[in-house]
Amino acid sequence: MCEKELLVSYLYDDLRDTDRARFDTHLHDCAECRAELNALRGVRADLISWSPPQPDFGFRMVREPSISNNAREPEISNVVEMTPRSGRPASWRAWWTPAAGLAAAATLVLAAAAGLARIEVHSGADGFTVRTGWSAFAPQSARSFGETGAPAALPGAGGNVAAAPQTAAAPAPDGVAPVGSALGVDPSVIAALDRRLGALEAATREAAPFRNASVSNARPSDAEIIRRVRDMLAQSETKQQGELALRIAQVIRDVDAQRVADLTRIQQGLRGIEASVSTVDAGHRELTNYILTSARQK
């Protein structure tokens, strides 16, 4: 081992006893090595002052339960970053599972497109009907008008078809002109569309009589409502307790991590003090030696 390697090992106190003793002897005789050792100890003490900032991390691995097939098997595709507590570097976005984002974006685009194109989809006895564009405006207007002018004219399929033209042609209450007329649409077209609408509604009612019945008969009693509210409250309390426990665990972990970091800093500080002391000590020793040598010479 060359002297510089020995010097570094001695500097970091990582030497066998025999090597240490040998280097001690060398240091005693070599002022240059002694000075270099002290200088490097000083550099080490200065290095302690450089500490990194303490960011608030707050990112954790979380699993998306809806995608995972096996609860015990972590799949990285299902693991995403949890909400950071502060800041948001650009790359954090990359942790977000792209599939969910794409699905949300696609839904938004479809919804916007449907809104612009005024797409309507109906199903009835004559199959599915899709209407797009501004043509959808007329039946909508006609329906509004029909309901306003003659709400009692739609009890069933049979009467509805007959009543619709009359409803469409009748003047609106309060002297308001019919929307279809105001827009210059032929009343016969409106009547035909209203007939079609009535037929569709009747078909819908016939197709789901039991569902409507169940809805109307399923009004819960007050006791049932109170019981449900209590259940919801209990669930909410349980959830809050769980979240509280999670937060407490997080705080404990943070405190523990901080304690470890503090201990490391304290150790580094002690090392610096030790280096300073040994530097001063070496200076004193040199001074003492010098005085002794001078005294001896005198």
Binding site: V8, V43, P55, M61
Partner: protein, 192 residues
């Protein structure tokens, strides 16, 4: 009593995400510190820190425990830092403000430390950051691992795939350069 890294790694390998998160909490600060001191940018160091844990999680099945978990993390971090430096095609940046903000400093002041001492400490810190940024990568890495993470010479040699003597040489050369640089700036202790 806190679980050891080995226990948490074993549980994580068995699918326990909470155990892996405990490892994240335990090691995020040292990993961030390593990344920050290596590349010198706060935001990028945080990205490297997150990427380190993400890669570690992906590769967890393949981790057989030949090395310590922390050494494994350090190695991943250093690889990512190396990629960052190569990608950015530049030296690490000493991200230290030019001036000294006394108001900001006052909040960091310890009860036993005068403001003059604090300013001096800040100046030394900035000078060290600049001097470290100017070091060659291998010397800087050796110093960081030894000084700030307390690794043994052998652990550093294993991590950097180089002989023990090379680690010591890099340390000696790096410390000597720092000594000259700090002397030139006239800060810190008298290194002469």
């Amino acid at each position: 009593m806190a679980s050891s890294d080995e226990e948490l790694v074993a549980k994580s390998q068995g699918g326990d995400l909470d155990s892996f998160n405990q490892l994240v909490v335990r090691w995020e600060r040292p990993i961030y510190a390593l990344a920050y001191r290596t590349i010198g940018r706060e935001e990028d160091a945080r990205d490297v820190c997150q990427e380190t844990f993400l890669r570690a999680f992906r590769a967890l099945k393949g981790f057989k425990g030949q090395a310590k978990f922390s050494s494994w993390l350090y190695r991943i971090t250093l690889n990512l830092c190396r990629d960052w430096i190569r990608r950015e095609r530049r030296q690490p940046i000493a991200q230290a403000p030019e001036g000294v903000d006394l108001i900001e400093l006052a909040s960091e002041q310890t009860p036993s430390e005068s403001i003059e001492d604090l300013v001096a400490r800040k100046e030394i810190s900035q000078a060290v950051a600049r001097a470290m940024a100017g070091l060659p990568d291998d010397q800087r890495t050796a110093i960081i691992l030894k000084e700030y993470h307390g690794l043994t010479f052998q652990e550093i040699a294993d991590m950097l795939d180089c002989p023990l003597s090379t680690v010591k040489t890099r340390l000696y050369q790096g410390l000597s350069v720092l000594r000259r640089q700090l002397d030139r700036e006239g800060v810190g202790r008298n290194h002469v």
